[in-house]
């Protein structure tokens, strides 16, 4: 088995060298293999038995020596630098050294280095402590502390396969194995051979490899050069094939892997050993092999079962996705068919890809199968409303297809299957996949009704405008007429203004005559009184100074003169009073009439009259008026009542009032002389008297004053009476 693989290796080496040479003949000018060069090799101190140091700290080991031999075979001198694996690995990547003697060829390293043909295949193993019974397979490492050398292909393996959640790295494998021995690590993974060597060298009694194969950790070892250094690579390949062919490889192999057995054991012993050792060993191995095979079969079976389960899951997922897709499609179809708008899709050539129910109905097709795949322009959009042919190139549905932008149209027609057409509004939008336009979706609806309504509205609007124009004309006519009337009104206003001016002038004149009247009153009071005073005064002087010379008749004449002078004075006083009432302003306030009437009686009645007369005053409503003027009303009325009752038997004065919504009516009633009702309208005239002075003295001004005051308050006066039956005088004032 061993020699067989070596033979294969050899064949490969020869082939690859030949190929390299051929490549060099073709492209490279460098005469590889002819010149003597010195290259720098980097080795490790502790990768037994491949790379290690002897007692003098000189690098030795199988790989180092194989590299030397191979290099020497093609005329390369080798200088060796020693460093920890992580460091030298980096040196090569950076080009600080030219080659490494032993590098496992792993996928992770392919981009960094170039490899020679492999000269060695090593299997990985798990190393554990003997007293660690919990670890039997790779799977058991999941929660264990697994140590590897940093940057080693073992690290790449454990990380690649995610062997454990707790992966630690050390600089060298020595360190990792020592940690394992003292219990800091649960397992170390490395090549089987190297692990055994290390156990031996470090004399670790309690560390053993597990009897488990690691299929993912079978590494082929090669020399490595920097990526792209093909010249050196081909020379090393050539050297390697030379040392394999000339037996140096075998010698070195024997030196490092089999010297003890080779030297001590004789041929007879070999036979004996073969009989006594190898046969049972073979049997044991055979048994072990069977056990291993059964385990492997179980493992594979389990693995396959897992695979089956996984595939089943995937299959179910796919099924689910498919049914989901179907549901979605059904939903979309439902959505499409439930919209009132017609919707259809066309592909890049304008052929129908789908059409919803509304579209089928509108266009008069029984089912989608009648339209799918047919050119939609030719089917429904072929002719303009006026009968002209509608060329495909002009079709705006396709604009979306060609220009990649949505279009909106509302002035075209679609044709039904029965060759009738309808007015249509539609949107056409491109369907995109990435940068490609796959087709368009057209959404349309029948707008025949709308167009009809629009045209009706337009007609209505036109007729309305006509009406408006008519009405406007009528209104303008009316306005014109109104303007005329306004003109007439203006003239009237002008006339009115003139009248107003005239009235103002009249008023001014009136005011002037009022002033004149004032002046007249003043002079009446002043100038007319002087002669009266003289008449009266001098009559008295005559009576006083010449009494003895006058007889009785003479004295009576003088008395008459004096009395008339006095009466004249009273007339003047009353007249002035009357005119003053007309001229003075009315100052309005709230007046308690009950109190006022009572106080007036107290004021003007003599003591005798107060004793003789019965006065009845009802509760009188309050009124708004001029206090002084209304007081004069009561004075005159009560004075009259007293005067005209002076000769009567019944001496009673009643004062009362009636109230209505609009006015308050006050009255003073006596039981005196009364009057002839035929003359009741004359009662309130100035200087009008119904009695002689001999019966009842008076000037005839008192009632005129009352009437004037009441009129100035906006009220009215009247009287009722009969001769010798008493009289009632009423005055009404506006109410609240």
């Amino acid at each position: 088995m061993c020699s067989c693989s070596r033979f294969l290796l050899l064949v490969l080496l020869v082939l690859s060298t030949a190929l390299q040479g051929f490549a060099n003949l073709n492209g490279s000018a460098d005469p590889a293999g002819t010149s003597t060069d010195t290259i720098l090799l980097a080795s490790e101190p502790d990768y037994p038995p491949y790379c290690l140091l002897d007692e003098n700290n000189q690098p030795i080991g199988f790989a180092v020596e194989l590299f030397r031999a191979s290099a020497e075979a093609v005329g390369l001198d080798v200088n060796i630098q020693v460093g920890p694996w992580l460091a030298i690995k980096k040196y090569l990547a950076e080009g600080k050294v030219d080659a490494l003697p032993i590098v496992g060829r792993t996928p992770e390293r392919e981009p960094i280095y170039d490899f020679t043909v492999p000269y060695l295949t090593l299997h990985g193993a798990i190393f554990v402590r003997k007293d660690h019974p919990g670890i039997h397979s790779l799977a058991d490492l999941k929660n264990k502390k697994v140590f590897v050398m940093g940057g080693d292909n073992a690290e790449e393996f454990v990380r690649r396969e995610k062997v454990s959640d707790f992966i630690y790295t050390t600089t060298t494998f020595d360190e990792a194995f020592q940690k394992l021995a003292i219990g800091e690590a649960d397992a170390v993974i490395t090549q089987w051979v190297i692990g055994l060597k290390l156990i031996d060298r470090l004399k670790l009694k309690n560390v053993v490899p597990l009897d488990v194969q690691l299929p993912g950790f079978r590494i082929e070892f090669c020399f490595a050069v920097q990526e792209g250094n093909e010249a050196l690579l081909s020379r090393l390949n050539e050297g390697l094939s030379i040392v394999m062919a000339n037996g140096t490889f075998n010698d070195l192999h024997h030196k490092w892997f089999g010297p003890v057995i080779k030297e001590r054991i004789s041929t007879a012993d070999k036979v004996r050993v073969a009989l006594w050792v190898f046969v049972p060993l073979l049997l044991v191995m055979f048994l072990l092999w069977i056990v291993f095979l059964r385990k492997e079969v179980k493992r594979r079976t389990r693995h396959l079962e897992e695979e089956v389960v996984r595939h089943k899951n995937t299959w179910e997922e796919l099924q689910q996705q498919q049914s989901l897709l179907k549901e979605k499609e059904a939903e979309i179809r439902l959505l499409l068919n439930s919209t009132a708008e017609g919707i259809y899709g066309v592909d890049h050539s304008g052929n129908c890809t789908f059409m919803n129910q509304s579209a089928l109905q509108a266009l008069g097709y029984a089912g989608e199968q009648e339209v799918i795949g047919r050119n939609m322009h030719d089917l429904i959009h072929h002719t303009h409303p006026d009968g002209r042919k509608f060329h495909r190139d002009d079709c705006r549905v396709y604009q979306a297809l060609h220009e990649g932008e949505g279009t909106h149209v509302d002035d075209e027609v679609f044709w039904r299957s029965d060759h009738t057409s309808f007015q249509v509004e539609y949107f056409s939008y491109p369907i995109r996949q990435g940068d490609d336009i796959l087709g368009t979706v057209v959404t349309f609806w029948d707008i025949t009704e709308r167009k009809r309504a629009e045209s009706e509205l337009r007609a209505l609007k036109d007729s309305l405008e006509e009406q408006v124009n008519e009405r406007t004309a009528q209104l303008e006519e009316q306005i014109r007429k109104l303007n005329k009337s306004q003109q007439a009104l203006l003239y009237m206003v002008e006339d009115l203004n003139e009248v107003t001016l005239e009235l103002k002038e009249e008023r001014r004149k009136l005011e002037q005559s009022n002033q004149e009247l004032d002046a007249f009153s003043y002079s009446v009071s002043h100038d007319l009184r002087s002669p009266l005073r003289a008449i009266n005064g001098y009559s008295e002087f005559l009576l006083e100074d010449y009494a003895e010379q006058l007889d009785e008749e003479g004295k009576r004449f003088l008395t008459v003169i004096r009395e008339n002078a006095n009466k004249m004075d009273r007339l003047i006083t009353d007249m002035l009073n009357l005119s003053r009432i007309s001229r003075t302003d009315v100052r309005v306030s709230a007046i308690n009439m009950t109190k006022l009437a009572g106080s007036v009686f107290e004021e003007i009645a003599t003591e005798t009259e107060k004793r003789d007369f019965e006065l009845v005053v009802e509760e009188l409503p309050e009124v708004q008026g001029d206090y002084n003027l209304l007081k004069q009303v009561w004075q005159n009325l009560i004075a009259n009542a007293l005067k005209y009752s002076s000769k009567s038997v019944v001496r009673k004065i009643e004062i009362g009032a009636n109230e209505s919504d609009s006015e308050v009516v006050y009255f003073v009633k006596d039981h005196g002389a009364g009057f002839d009702p035929r003359y009741k309208d004359k009662l309130f005239g100035v200087f009008q008297r119904l009695h002689s002075d001999d019966d009842f003295a008076g000037t005839g001004v008192g009632l005129a004053i009352i009437q004037r005051i009441v009129h100035r308050h906006g009220g009215r006066v009247w009287a009722e009476g009969e001769v010798n039956q008493g009289a009632t005088f009423w005055f009404a004032l506006p109410g609240k």
């Binding site: 003043y522 009071s525 002043h526 100038d527 009184r529 002087s530 009266l532 005073r533 003289a534 009266n536 005064g537 001098y538 008295e540 002087f541 004096r562 002078a565 006095n566 004249m568 004075d569 002035l576």
Partner: protein
């Protein structure tokens, strides 16, 4: 003594009959003070301020009372009142207004100018006598002017 200096009552009255009646009323009340009657406002002021035809008079002898008619020729009663009452030397002289009527504006104006009292000349002479007695006496006899 200059007779004009002895005048105690000055009557300003343009109507000679009214003046006579005033004198008679005073007499009937036994008032015997020296009385002077002037006929218009100008004369009244000339007398009071000792000027014009009364220039020889000594101003310090002031009348005890002036009876002043409201309506006068030349300068009317209110103007005379105003001049007397606006001069510090003469404003202490009591002035009694004599008038024919109780016309409100006249009364109000007179009181504003500082009149001391007011008599409406009645047509009935006996009433005039009573009024002179009631008011004139008060000013002539009871009211002691500062000298």
């Amino acid at each position: 003594m200059e007779p004009m200096n002895q005048v105690e009552i000055l009557i300003v009255e343009d109507n000679p009959h009214d003046a006579e009646m005033a004198l008679r009323a005073l007499k009937k009340n036994n008032v015997s003070n020296q009385v002077l009657v002037v006929n218009d406002g100008e004369e009244a002021l000339d007398f009071v301020f000792a000027r014009g035809k009364f220039a020889g008079r000594e101003k310090k002898f002031r009348p005890k009372i002036i009876l002043l008619d409201l309506k006068l020729p030349k300068i009317d009663g209110l103007q005379v009142l105003k001049e007397i009452k606006s001069n510090p030397e003469t404003k202490i002289i009591p002035v009694i207004m004599l008038t024919s009527s109780k016309e409100e504006t006249d009364m109000v104006r007179s009181y504003q100018l500082g009149v001391n009292s007011y008599i409406v000349k009645p047509v009935d002479f006996s009433k005039f006598v009573e009024a002179v007695r009631d008011l004139g006496f008060y000013w002539l006899l009871l009211n002691q002017q500062p000298r």
